[in-house]
C-alpha cells in the first residue's frame, strides 16, 4: 500500500514518520498499532491525501496518492478519529452529500443498507446534533462506506462507543472484509486487533518496530496475548528489532 514513506512536519525539528516501508495485500484485515503520537494518524493522513509526505511514495490499490489522487481517493474510505459532523444536516442528508462528493448522486439503496447494518435506520431523519456520541461514530463509519471503497481505513473507530455498537460494527466490517474489502485498523483496544486482524504492524516514534502475522508475532513474543506482546515490544530497544529484521 505504501513504500519508503517519509513524513516530515513543517517544523524541521520534528519528523512524524521515518522510513516506513510496507504494503498491505488486497483483502487483508491489517492492524496498525502504536502508542499515542507514534505516527498512525500521520500515515493514514498521507494515504487519504490530507497530508503530504516530504519524501517517498504511497499508493492505494496501485494508484499513487499524489499523481493519481482521484483514483486513490475513490479506492479509500476513511473513518476519522475525531468525532466530526455537519450540524446543518440529518443523517441521511449527510450520507447523500458524502456519496455525492464521490460522484454517486442516486445511491439510496446502498445508503439504506449501510444505515440498517449500523443500526441507524430509525435515526435517518434525525439532525446530526441530536445524536449521541456513539451514534455520531456510526455515521462516521457510514460516511466512509457510501462509495463502496475497496480499502477501508478505521482510525480508532470504537473509541468511546458502547458494547452493542462495537459488536455490530465488527460484524459489519468483518462481512465487508470477507466480501473482499481491505481493512486497515488503528486501535488502542488490542483484543480487537488480536481477534480481527491477520497481520499487525507496530509503530513507535514514527518507525515500524514489529511487522508480522498475528499468530507468528504472538508466538515470537512468548505466546501471550497481544497486549503483553505490545508492552514488551514498546519497552524494548527499537534498534534491536530493526537490526533483527534488517
Amino acid at each position: 500500500m505504501w513504500r519508503s514513506l517519509f513524513r516530515q512536519s513543517k517544523d524541521p525539528g520534528f519528523q512524524a514518520l521515518d522510513d516506513i516501508s510496507l504494503s498491505v495485500a488486497h483483502g487483508e484485515f491489517f492492524a496498525l498499532l502504536g502508542p499515542n503520537g507514534a505516527g498512525k494518524t500521520s500515515l493514514i493522513s498521507i494515504l487519504a491525501g490530507l497530508s503530504r509526505a516530504s519524501s517517498g511514495r504511497a499508493s492505494v490499490c496501485g494508484f499513487d496518492v499524489v499523481d493519481d489522487y482521484q483514483q486513490a481517493r475513490r479506492s479509500l474510505g476513511v473513518v476519522p478519529q475525531e468525532l466530526v459532523y455537519d450540524p446543518f444536516f440529518t443523517v441521511r442528508e449527510s450520507l447523500r452529500i458524502q456519496s455525492g462528493y464521490f460522484g454517486f448522486r442516486h445511491n439510496d439503496d446502498w445508503i439504506d443498507e449501510i444505515l440498517a447494518n449500523l443500526g441507524l435506520s430509525d435515526k435517518a431523519d434525525t439532525n446530526m446534533r441530536a445524536l449521541s456520541g456513539g451514534m455520531k461514530r456510526r455515521v462516521l463509519v457510514a460516511q466512509a462506506l457510501v462509495h463502496r471503497p475497496p480499502v477501508i481505513v478505521l482510525d480508532e473507530p470504537t473509541a468511546g462507543v458502547d458494547v452493542d455498537l462495537r459488536r455490530s460494527l465488527w460484524e459489519f466490517i468483518s462481512r465487508l472484509n470477507k466480501e473482499g474489502h481491505t481493512i486497515l485498523l488503528t486501535t488502542h483496544y488490542l483484543e480487537e486487533a488480536e481477534a480481527l486482524c491477520s497481520r499487525i504492524a507496530m509503530l513507535k516514534r514514527g518507525r515500524i518496530v514489529a511487522l508480522d502475522n498475528t499468530q507468528a508475532l504472538l508466538a515470537r513474543m512468548g505466546g501471550g496475548n497481544l497486549e503483553a506482546a505490545f508492552v514488551q515490544i514498546m519497552n524494548s530497544d527499537t534498534s534491536d528489532f530493526l537490526e533483527q529484521h534488517a
Binding site: 512536519s9 513543517k10 495485500a25 488486497h26 483483502g27 487483508e28 493522513s45 487519504a48 491525501g49 490530507l50 497530508s51 503530504r52 490499490c61 489522487y69 482521484q70 483514483q71 486513490a72 481517493r73 475513490r74 479506492s75 479509500l76 476513511v78 476519522p80 475525531e82 466530526v84 459532523y85 455537519d86 450540524p87 446543518f88 444536516f89 442528508e93 447523500r96 452529500i97 458524502q98 456519496s99 455525492g100 462528493y101 464521490f102 460522484g103 454517486f104 448522486r105 460516511q143 462509495h147 463502496r148 471503497p149 475497496p150 472484509n177 470477507k178 466480501e179 473482499g180 474489502h181 481491505t182
Partner: protein, 263 residues
Amino acid sequence: MNTPILKARTGAGSGFPTLLGKELLRFWKVSFQTIAAPVITALLYLVIFAHVLQDRIQVYGTVPYTAFLIPGLMMMSMLQNAFANPSSSMIQSRVTGNLVFMLLPPMTHREIFSAYVLAGIIRGMAVGCCVWLVSLYFITLPVSQPLWILIFAVLSCGIMAILGLIAGLTSEKYDQLAAFQNFLIMPATFLSGVFYSVHSLPPFWQYITHWNPLFYTIDGFRFGFFGIADVSPWQSLAVVAGVFLLLTVFALRLLASGYKLRT
C-alpha cells in the same frame, strides 16, 4: 487469499453538483438569518436615509435620492452576503472539523472553487432580488439596461464570493475572519458610493474611491437602472471583470496548493 479483488466503483460523476447543492441547502435551511435579516437591514437603511435626505438631494440632476439609494443598497447587501456564504461555511467546517468530508473525496480544486463561488453568487442574487422587491413599496425603479444589471450583479457577487472563499481558506479562527470582514470588506462596501455619488466628495476622496474596486460594482450596477453613472460603464466593467479574473486565479492557486487545507 480467496477473497475477490475489489476495485473502486465505476460510473462516478463530478462532486461539484453535490457540493453546490450542499452550500445552497446550508444557507436555505437558515434563510431567516441569511436572506430575511439582510433584507430587513437594507430596509432600515432605506427608511432612515430616504426619510432624511429624500427632499434635500437629487443625484445625476434628476434622479430622486430614494431611487439612487436603492441600487446601492441592493448591491451592498449582495456584496456582503456573497462574501458571507463561502467564508462562514469554510470557517464553520474548519472549526467543527467537518472540512475533512470535503477533502477526502476526489474533488478537484476547480470543482470546490466553482461550487463555493456559485453558491455565494446565488445567495447574493437572492438577497438582492428580495431587497428590490421590498423597495417596490417605496418607489419603482426604472430599468434602463437590464443586461448591465445582470452582468454587474453576477460579477460583483462573484468577486465577493471569491474573497469570502479566500478569507475562509486563510482564517483559522472566527476572529481572524471577523477582522477580514470588519477592516476590509465593511469599509470597502460603505466607502464605495452606496449612499452618495462620488462627485459629491472632495477631490482627494474621489481619487481614493477610484482605487476601490467595489465602487465600480455599484456604479456599473446603477448604470443598468438609470442609464447614467459616475464613470463609464465600460470602465467599470473592465475593472470588475479584471478583479474577478485576478481573484479567480489567486483562489484557484490557493486551493490547488492545499493552503491550510492539507498539511
